[in-house]
C-alpha cells in the first residue's frame, strides 16, 4: 500500500492506494471512527462491494443506493441524500462514505459539503478515473440540465481509499477512460511520467497491480502539488483542464451518451495538441506521440461530424470561459502546459475545422 498526503493545511488528508484495501478493517476503522455513517453508492457498484464494505466497517451504517449513471448527478439526487441524512437525524459529527465512481463522489461530496454547512466524507472511488481525478482537488458538484458541474462546492474529504483490486470489475472502456486522465498528468506536468506510460500502457490495461499503484500514485501526486498551490482554481490549477474545455463541449454535443468523460477528454487532448502545434509551437512529432499513446490506451482521438461553431458556443458556456474570451490550456511541449486566451472565436473555429478535416 502507498499512502500520499494531500497538503492543504487544516484540510489535509491521506490517499491510500493498493490492492485489497476494501477489506482492511484497521485502515477503515482509523479513518471513520464509530459515529453516524451513511454509505452512498449506486446499484452496480453496490451489488459488487456494498456487503464487503459493511462487513469491513462493522457496526451500523445507513445505506443509500442510487441508480447508476451521470443522468442522476442532479440537484434532485443531492436532495435525496440530504433527506436521508435528515431522516436519520444525522449530526454535524456524522460521516458520508462515497462508494462508487465520479458521479457518486461528486454528488455525495456535494451533499456532505452542504449538510449542516459541511460534515465529513470519505471517498472510496471504484473507477480508475475517480481514483486519479476526483480523489484530489475537492471538487464536488451536480449537473444543471443546461451544463455540467454548474452547482457545487470546493470541499475536501477526510480521506481517500483507492483499492486497485476493484478495478478488475471495471469494463475495459472505463479503464481506458481513466487512462486518459493519467496521460493528461504526464502531458501537462511530467515528461518522464509520459515516457513511463509509453512503456507501461499495456501493463496498465492488463491491470498489473504494481503498474496501477505507481500510475495512480504519480497522478495523485502531480494533481495534489497543483491543488495545494491553488485550491480554488484561481491560477495554475487551470492547467489540469487540458482537453476539458473541448471535452465538456463534446460530452454535451454527444448528449452525455456518445462518449464517456475520459473519452471526450482524450479527443479534447488531441484537439488541444493540434491547436498547440499551430499556436504555441508544439513539435508535430510530439503531437503524433500523444495521439499514438491515447490510441494504445484504447481511446478515441477523433470526433467525426463535429460542428465547430456549435462546439465553440458550448465552450463559451464552460465554467472556465472568462468574459474576455475562451481560455484554453495548450502544450508548448510534452510535460509543459500553458493557458492561452482566445478572443478570436472565428479563427479558432477555422482551426478546429482544419483539425477535424485532417
Amino acid at each position: 500500500m502507498s499512502t500520499l498526503s494531500v497538503d492543504l493545511g487544516a484540510r489535509s488528508y491521506p490517499i491510500h492506494i493498493g490492492p485489497g484495501l476494501l477489506d482492511d478493517g484497521a485502515l477503515l476503522g482509523a479513518l471513520v471512527p464509530a459515529r453516524q455513517r451513511l454509505i452512498v453508492t449506486n446499484d452496480v457498484v453496490g451489488a459488487l462491494y456494498l456487503d464487503r464494505l459493511r462487513s469491513t466497517l462493522g457496526g451500523k451504517a445507513q445505506v443509500l443506493v442510487l441508480p447508476d449513471g451521470e443522468a442522476h448527478k442532479t440537484l434532485a439526487t443531492f436532495e435525496r441524500i440530504i433527506d436521508t441524512l435528515i431522516g436519520a437525524e444525522f449530526h454535524r459529527d456524522a460521516c458520508v462514505i462515497a462508494l462508487g465512481g465520479g458521479v457518486i463522489g461528486d454528488v455525495a461530496g456535494f451533499a456532505a459539503a452542504c449538510y449542516q454547512r459541511g460534515i465529513a466524507y470519505l471517498q472510496i472511488p471504484t473507477t480508475l478515473l475517480a481514483q486519479v481525478d476526483s480523489s484530489v482537488g475537492g471538487k464536488t458538484a451536480v449537473n444543471h440540465p443546461r451544463a455540467k458541474n454548474m452547482i457545487g462546492a470546493f470541499y475536501q474529504p477526510i480521506g481517500v481509499i483507492a483499492d486497485t483490486t476493484v478495478l478488475e470489475s471495471l469494463p475495459a472502456r472505463e479503464l481506458s477512460a481513466g487512462l486518459a486522465e493519467i496521460i493528461k498528468y504526464g502531458l501537462i506536468l511530467d515528461a518522464g511520467f509520459f515516457g513511463w506510460l509509453e512503456e507501461h500502457i499495456e501493463s496498465l490495461r492488463a491491470l498489473d497491480p504494481a503498474a496501477l499503484e505507481h500510475a495512480i500514485r504519480r497522478s495523485c501526486e502531480l494533481k495534489a502539488a497543483i491543488v495545494a498551490e491553488d485550491e480554488r482554481e484561481q491560477g495554475r490549477r487551470a492547467l489540469l483542464n487540458l482537453g476539458h474545455t473541448f471535452g465538456h463541449a463534446l460530452e454535451s454535443l454527444g448528449r452525455y451518451e456518445r462518449w464517456l468523460h475520459g473519452e471526450a477528454v482524450a479527443i479534447g487532448i488531441c484537439l488541444a495538441a493540434e491547436v498547440s502545434v499551430a499556436r504555441c509551437g508544439l513539435d508535430p512529432a510530439q503531437c503524433v506521440r500523444i495521439e499514438a499513446l491515447l490510441e494504445r490506451a484504447g481511446l478515441p482521438t477523433r470526433a467525426p461530424g463535429l460542428d465547430p461553431g456549435r462546439m465553440i458556443e458550448l465552450m463559451r458556456m464552460d465554467k472556465k470561459a472568462a468574459a474576455a474570451g475562451l481560455k484554453l490550456v495548450l502544450l508548448e511541449r510534452i510535460g509543459h502546459a500553458v493557458t492561452q486566451l482566445h478572443t478570436d472565436e472565428i479563427a479558432l473555429a477555422e482551426l478546429l475545422r482544419g483539425a477535424f478535416a485532417a
Copy 2:
C-alpha cells in the same frame, strides 16, 4: 461612515456602516466593478430600494425579485437563482448582489457559493438583524421542511453595505428583533457594551443615526473577532448561539409564524439565563437586568403554554446538538458566556418547566 474589516486572510472583506450608503456610487462602484451582476431581492424591499440601487450602480444588472418571507428560503428558490444565473450565461467572474434581510442574504449567498463552485457576492442587508448578524460569519443556507438552515455553506461575501437610513422603513417589531441579537453580543462578550445598551436602548428604537452606527459597528466587531478565530464553528464560535438552540426550537414550535427569529432568540436568551442561574452561578439580579433590557427593547421574554418535552426533542435535531447530548450556551455573568453539555434531558426538561411556570 464607519468601515470595519473582517479579517479572514485571503477571504477578508469590508463592512461599511452609515446613513445613505445606498446612494454612494463611488463606494458601490469600487466594490462591484463593471461585470455581470445579478441583484436578488424580494417584492417588499425591491419596491422600496431596487430603483435606487440600480441607479447608483449604473450600467446593466439582471434582477430577480423573490416573494418575501422565510417560507421561500428553500432549495426551490436556490434553484431559481441558479437558473437565472445560467439563463443569463453568467461566468465565474460575475457577482450576486443580495438586497434584503436575512432570508435574501442566506439564499442568494448560498446560490453564489454553489454557482460554478463559488462566485462573488455583495450583501446589502436591509434589516437591523441582517446588518448585525448575517453580515459577519459567512453563513449561508436554505431551510429543509424538517429543520432550519440544514443545507448551506460557509462562504464569505466580497463586502457588506449596512445603510442605516433604510431602517426607517423597517416595522418596529423587526427593529426589536434586531436589537435582540445586539443585546446578545453584549451578553456573551462585552459587559461594557451591555451597559451602553441599557443607556441607549430608547435612542436605538428611535433610530438615532449615531447610536445605530455605534451599535451595529460594535456588534459586527465582536462577531468578527470570534469568526476570525473560528471560521467554521469548531469551538468558540458556538458562543454566538446564546439563546439560539432554544430559539430555533421555539420558531419551529410556532411554525415560523408566531415569532420572528429575533423574538424567539429573546425568549431563548431568557431561558438560557434562567438555566444559567441554576447551572453556572449567574447572579439572579443579572438575570433580572437581562429580561428588563429585552423587554425595553420591545421583545417577548416568555412563551406561555410551552411543552418542555417537545421542545427538547426539537433541540436535539438542532445543528448544534452533538451525539453526546445537548450543548447549551450559558452565562456565568453578563459579558461572559460558556458552553455546557447537557446529557440529562429529563433534568433539563424539569428546569424548563420550572422556568416557564415561574
